[in-house]
């Protein structure tokens, strides 16, 4: 597609834009609302999500402060995600974590209960994972296996937008 306008046209039109900030599109909170509208009951998968975030962090030898820094989040947000499944995380926080973990954001959003469940077997896998994982100072063999199996399971799920 070719856009052909005179220089005068740009002069006039850009004067109207001035110093305004121009953007359009889907904001970060829509997905949460969509999940709310769909009456999603996310508690079980959200427990797995919190556990997963915690184990990922510990597997890297990071504390919550380091994870928050690397993900561009507040430490309180990380602790809330790890410890309070009743609390709904911000979609943007989940996006940041997905980017850091190099995992599909859609699957993590689904685990966090921010979008309607649609990945077959994800809930079951999440519940099994949460059940096998216990909070300990360092990952034991069982936890490491559970963690790695879950990473592998979510990595294999095709990415969605």
């Amino acid at each position: 597609m070719k856009l052909e306008r005179s220089k005068d046209w740009y002069e006039r039109r850009i004067a109207l834009e001035g110093n305004a900030e121009i953007g359009a599109g889907m904001p970060p909170h829509c997905r949460a609302n969509a999940a709310e509208a769909a009456n999603v009951k996310p508690l079980e998968t959200r427990i797995a999500f919190g556990t997963f975030v915690e184990l990922w962090r510990r597997n890297h030898g990071w504390d919550a402060v380091r994870l928050a820094k690397e993900a561009g989040l507040n430490t309180e947000e990380i602790l809330e995600i790890e410890r309070n499944p009743q609390s709904e995380p911000e979609p943007s926080a989940v996006y940041n974590l997905a980017r850091l973990f190099k995992l599909p954001s859609q699957v993590l959003l689904e685990l966090a209960g921010l979008i309607e469940p649609r990945t077959p077997y994800l809930r079951d896998a999440a519940v099994r994972f949460a059940a096998r994982s216990e909070s300990m100072a360092s990952l034991n063999q069982n936890e490491r296996e559970a963690f790695e199996a879950f990473v592998s399971a979510i990595s294999e799920i095709p990415q969605r937008r």
Binding site: E11, R13, N19, I22, A24, P27, G72, Y95
Partner: protein
């Protein structure tokens, strides 16, 4: 893939400078986004509460590209100037108009439109270049024209752009859209599109 010569205004000098509009976001643009745009955005988000972050900070253009590239109904655009990325847009061409006079007729819907952080007053004032938003709206109108949609376009405005779309582009405000987190939805009529293309 076609390139158009467009203009942006360098705010520091007040001069129009030549820029390039490409009707496809290429891998080169995505690499520029990753190397220059995304780090600035991440730095901006660091330590800020979610509500204080730019509304589009989570948009992953690289991930989005994998989704839209095989689809005929999506059209992507990139603006570059002086070797730097200045704006990105993704539009789709199969949505329907909502204004009663053109209800049900196809429009070009702007799915995502973002200007580079350095072209936003939130990051630097005055912004480095003005006009990336204008060029993108012009591109959407032109695409609509070429598809036979007579310039009809629609979009959901982010942030502070409502006045720009309503008062400067002449788009009709159609209320808050519950499906888009209550964002204001705007549509351009054929008549306004013609006016936008030609005179102002």
């Amino acid at each position: 893939m076609q390139e158009s010569r467009v203009y942006l205004k360098e705010m520091a000098t007040g001069q129009l400078v030549e820029a390039s509009l490409l009707d496809e976001i290429t891998d080169r643009h995505l690499a520029m986004w990753i190397d220059t745009w995304q780090p600035v955005m991440e730095e901006r988000c660091r330590g800020r509460k979610p509500g204080d972050r730019p509304e589009d900070h989570h948009w992953d253009w690289k991930l989005k590209a994998d989704g839209w590239r095989p689809l005929l109904g999506y059209h992507s655009f990139a603006i570059t100037c002086n070797g730097e990325l200045q704006g990105l847009m993704l539009a789709c061409d199969f949505k329907s108009a909502r204004i009663p006079a053109q209800f049900g007729k196809p429009i070009v819907h702007v799915e995502f439109l973002a200007t580079a952080p350095w072209n936003r007053p939130e990051f630097q004032t005055p912004k480095r270049y003005s006009g990336a938003g204008t060029v993108m709206v012009a591109a959407a109108v032109e695409l609509s024209w070429q598809l036979g949609y007579r310039g009809r376009i629609g979009l959901h405005s982010l942030g502070d752009a409502e006045e720009f779309y309503r008062d400067k582009c002449g788009m009709t405000e159609l209320g808050n859209d519950a499906a888009y987190q209550g964002l204001m939805y705007y549509e351009m009529t054929e008549k306004k599109a013609e006016y936008f293309r030609q005179t102002h």
